[in-house]
């Protein structure tokens, strides 16, 4: 488990600057929530943490993101290596629809190195158990991943991210497209994962942030307004704007 320390991070889409010198850190064994109104740059910040931001045409980032002490934006760092160690789950479930559930779960393991079938099976089972999907799919691992329900698909995507055993897990509103029951499952899952992973999650849901995170980062217009332990954030925030936002008075 490794820590992430962000300092003076800015990001652009073309000319438009969407992150303004962000500082934050995410500690191993904890859940860090990023909250803020729509368009404030939460997804962009998250995508900067595993160098996915630069995949958008015209997008670039500048600053430092120290992962276990090493700057992932440093010279000679291959984004492919970064992404293998820092996993990501997206807002919209995006399993590979023509691949089977099994193939989806081990998709990341198929990259780069070759692995024996038995080991793949073991890793798939472990990841699917961790994401809480195993009991539902164990008899139909050869079914196409696209045939699952939305909530199941999202848990399949989480399993896919976990199977490569990343050191950090980034999640962008992983439950926003799901019903309350599936949301609850995913929240429980995050609680279980946090002992073994460093989890950073973007959420729109204030209660969710309060329930599952240890640290909370509040952003506004691409800037960090406040970064504090979740309890403090939701009871005695330092900044007036944070208070307005978490109590729902933000306008």
């Amino acid at each position: 488990m490794k820590s992430l320390v962000v300092s003076d991070l800015s990001a652009w889409f073309g000319r438009k600057r969407v992150l303004r010198s962000v500082d934050m850190s995410a500690e191993p064994g904890s859940v860090t929530a990023i909250i803020g109104p729509s368009g404030c740059g939460k997804s962009t910040l998250l995508r900067c943490l595993n160098r996915m931001h630069e995949e958008v045409r015209g997008a670039r980032a500048q600053g430092k993101v120290l992962f276990d002490g090493l700057d992932i934006y440093g010279p000679g760092v291959d984004p492919v290596d970064v992404r293998r160690r820092i996993g990501m789950v997206f807002q919209r479930p995006n399993p590979f629809p023509t691949m089977s559930i099994f193939e989806n779960a081990v998709a990341g393991l198929r990259l780069g190195s070759k692995m024996r079938r038995a080991e793949l099976q073991e890793r798939a089972e472990r990841a699917l158990r961790a994401s809480g999907l195993w009991e539902e799919v164990k008899d139909g691992l050869d079914e196409p991943g696209g045939k699952l329900s939305g909530g199941q698909q999202q848990r399949l995507c989480i399993a896919r991210a976990l199977a490569v055993e990343p050191e950090v897990l980034l999640m962008d509103e992983p439950a926003s497209a799901l019903d309350p029951a599936s949301t609850l499952r995913i929240e429980e899952l995050i609680q279980e994962l946090k002992s073994r992973y460093n989890v950073v999650i973007v959420t729109h849901n204030m209660q969710q942030a309060a329930r599952i995170s240890d640290w909370t980062l509040f952003m506004l217009y691409g800037e960090v307004v406040e970064y504090a332990p979740t309890k403090k954030m939701f009871t005695t925030p330092e900044d007036r704007r944070t208070e307005d936002y978490v109590t729902g008075r933000f306008g």
Binding site: E55, R92, N94, P95, F96, P97, T98, G145, G146, V164
Partner: protein
Amino acid sequence: MSHRVAEPGAASARLGDRAFRGLTLAVGMGLIAVLVVVLWVLAQGGAPALARFGPGFLVGRNWDPVHQSFGALPYVFGTLVTSAIAITLAVPVAVGLAILLNEPVGRAVTAPLASFVDVLAAIPSVVYGLWGLAVLSPAMERHVEPFLRATIGRIPILGRLFSGTPSGGDLFTAGVVLAIMILPIVTAISREVFSVVPRDLREAAKALGATRYETIRMGVLPYARPGIVGATMLGLGRALGETIAVSMVVGGGRSVGASLFAAGSTIPSVIASQFLNAQGIGYHRPALLALALVLVTISLSLAALSRLMVRRTARLLDGGSVEGAAEGPALEVSG
């Protein structure tokens, strides 16, 4: 108030809807009718030859108007072989080009290349024929074919395709000309296909740590496959029917052997060169009409086959998060 305003609008919208549906239906039926009439005319005209020669019409190798003996095998063979060469050469290039153009980087090189490929579509087919005759044939005879014979020609089974005496005017040269002629359409449709593959899947692969090549293999190609099949079929349709350019470079022989360096003929080329002289009594004219019927049958069967292949993959995609993304372009196959 707003209710009264809305009503006539809604009614006329429904009327427009009905009119549009009626029109679409009429045009659709019209097209089917045209196809049926064409098939009917060909079947009617070709019937005497088919009745006279039976299955021998398809497997016979002798096509001799003077002695009234008609076996179409060399022409069917030539058509299938030249089209197969064209597809084999053109599809990988077209798909590769389409992939490159879909990538966010390297446009400076690939974009001009793409415009060049588009321009190829505007060249009349007789010009391709002239170019094939004047430039390509000699080059094939002197350089390309001897080289292939000396290299691939030595491999046990595959080598038989590249054995024999290079002549320049042969099935292989015709296939190469056809490949260049169908490149633009296959490229254009493949590009369209790649551009509708959802970003989600590409990002899913990237976020797992896929390299650019792995991203294409894992997050792009599987969803583009039905569309590429469609693009291939359209290209194949053009290759099967191409007449002038092919007849100028294919050599006019009647080979049915393994060597691609032998002179052959295709169905369109033989119909174009003989039909005007086939007005007399006898089986020549029916035989040519029967030949046309065979060509149409081949095209239609391939189109039907491609629909089946596309359907199978599309059904998988439908259940997923990419509702029918790859179905769109494939619809054009039947056209």
